[in-house]
Subunit: 355 residues, 2 copies
């Protein structure tokens, strides 16, 4: 009798342990740089979380905190490293002050466009090099979505020569700003909320934001006529960060679910950016006939490129890992770009030669 | 005593049922058009199957049969429809003889490039229109991987005018072949295994295959000097097919695992194509200095486009659904292409103006 009672208890405990094992829920807290309901960039985290939850039958749940909650849009790296959050969604180049080599994994001026860069990440050395940079911080990093090729900015006057850049007051942050400053541009940093008014009142003559999809709601096209193609962020990839201890605690199936959900959400963001940019640019052209597309003249492009190359060389000359990354990216670009040129570029030029 | 024994038995049965429910394995049989270990296209099915199995902890298994097993590379549609196979990996336009509207979901001459077409599928009307075509056959269809922009082909002599196409013996199958025939090309169909010899001996003057990644192992670059950029398949997407009854039998979590595994495998194939094409084209250029890249002259492109437009109009004029698809694709292209032109195209032209 006691034996059978023990058997029943054992069977129930066994059943319960199976339930626990199969149904145990892992809740990961994710901090994103973006504000709540931020289009495209915020859609990527929600898309990732929804896929992970549905694929795991609810066993993997991602709780997303936007910047209004955590108040540290550029502190994602620190918070995930310290374990305050399990995951983050941010851009690697925001952290170049702390880890200089992080900047190469977002985009590089005159570098690869989105499909080329994904090829470098997944079929070249990109993932391995990114691991070398993040592993010492106890972090895993994964591509988190691409904005597509970013525009060079909104200008109130045309840029026809290097001369036209002298003293031009322009808001353009980060590495692109450093390059522009070397060419004589008066680079200023103005909070996003004041950009429209600053441009309207002439406090600045030009600014760079993202591309049609995110520029549209800022309204710059209402007060600046010239929209220049870019050189500075040919394929800006944001990133997912995960604390390595959190990753290691997940069972193998949930690790793979998380990996694939992040990978798909990243690709999806690139495609959503393509869609939203197409839609916004076609609306701008229809509703604002003042808006005209321009490309920088060759002498400006040449000067931008020479300055970029010099600054990249200076940034990497005393850091072997930086050199390894820069050389890998340059070698990969040399391998893949001739293919891009004879495929999509030749096709686009051939089917609409006049543009 | 009997009560307790019953309780013990019930507990054990409960435990067993939990095991059954949680661990029940779904094995899906997939037929692919490609031969065994076929690069890129075959990698896509293996990548998908590996992700599905790992994400499901082994509960979802995909058994892949290549064409050497099922002997029906162009019978995938029929076999999945009839339930002989649960899934397929093939190209939609192979089945235009049976369902004429299938052809629009692979690629269209002078149509969208890969990221534009993914945007149409996932953020435009593409998926809904594809469902309209496949649902009456009890099938679900999903994008299954993109080859990237396909090349126009290998030519032994340069094409400088429409005149040069008269009587040119060329292997180019499908819709592109119909268009070429209208321009005076003597279109022939030759099995893949005889292509190299046919080109070498002058049985044909030119041929179209895929792009550097898959052309390289065929060796055409050893016997033809001119490699032309394409117009006929700007972003060829292959497809996954699933029998709808099979899909409906899967629990919700496995459906989502399968959907996401297919979606990621498709994107991954596009990126792998980019990588492999870059590698192969750079090897061809290094090792075979005879190989020269060309684009067709404007009068040839204009004639190809006018003929394409006329044949597409004829194919769709008595079919309202065909018209809906063609109009949707044309409207989407008009919306998205101006964005591609001011972003990637302008960037590629600006940073290397001479090419």
């Amino acid at each position: 009798m006691r034996k059978i009672r023990l058997l029943a208890t054992a069977a129930l405990l066994f059943a319960a342990s199976l339930v626990t094992q199969a149904e145990q829920t892992h809740v990961l807290r994710l901090a994103e740089t973006w504000g709540p309901n931020y289009p495209i960039l915020g859609d990527a985290t929600r898309n990732m979380a929804a896929m992970a939850e549905a694929m795991s039958g609810g066993r993997l749940q991602i709780r997303i905190d936007s910047s209004n909650r955590h108040k540290a849009p550029f502190g994602i790296f620190d918070m995930v490293k310290a374990g305050q959050y399990d995951m983050g969604h941010t851009a690697s180049y925001y952290y170049k002050g702390k880890i200089p080599n992080a900047m190469y994994f977002t985009t590089v001026p005159f570098g690869m466009i989105a499909p080329e860069q994904y090829a470098w990440f997944y079929f070249g050395d990109g993932m391995a090099l990114m691991e070398k940079v993040y592993a010492p911080h106890g972090l895993l990093s994964f591509p988190g979505g691409n904005t597509g090729n970013q525009m060079g900015g909104w200008f109130r006057e045309e840029i026809n020569s290097l001369e036209d850049l002298q003293g031009l007051k322009m808001r353009t942050p980060g590495f692109a700003g450093e390059v522009m400053a070397e060419l004589g541009v008066a680079v200023t940093n103005i909070p996003p909320g004041e950009l429209y008014t600053s441009l309207e009142r002439g406090t600045i003559d030009a600014l760079e934001w993202v591309g049609p999809a995110l520029d549209f709601s800022m309204g710059f096209h209402q007060i600046a006529d010239y929209y220049y193609s870019g050189w500075q962020e040919p394929g800006a990839e944001v990133q997912f960060l995960i604390n390595q201890r959190v990753w290691e605690r997940l069972p193998a199936d949930l690790q793979e679910i998380l990996r694939v959900a992040m990978r798909t959400a990243a690709y999806d963001m690139y495609i959503q950016s393509t869609h939203a940019s197409g839609l916004a640019w076609s609306r701008m052209q229809e509703e604002y006939p003042n808006v005209q597309h321009r490309t920088f003249p060759p002498e400006v492009i040449d000067a931008l490129r020479q300055t970029t190359d010099r600054l990249l060389l200076e940034a990497s000359e005393n850091d072997p890992l930086a050199q390894e990354i820069v050389r890998s990216q340059q070698a990969y670009l040399q391998q893949v770009r001739p293919w891009t040129n004879i495929s999509d570029r030749a096709y686009l030029n051939t089917v609409a030669p006049s543009e």
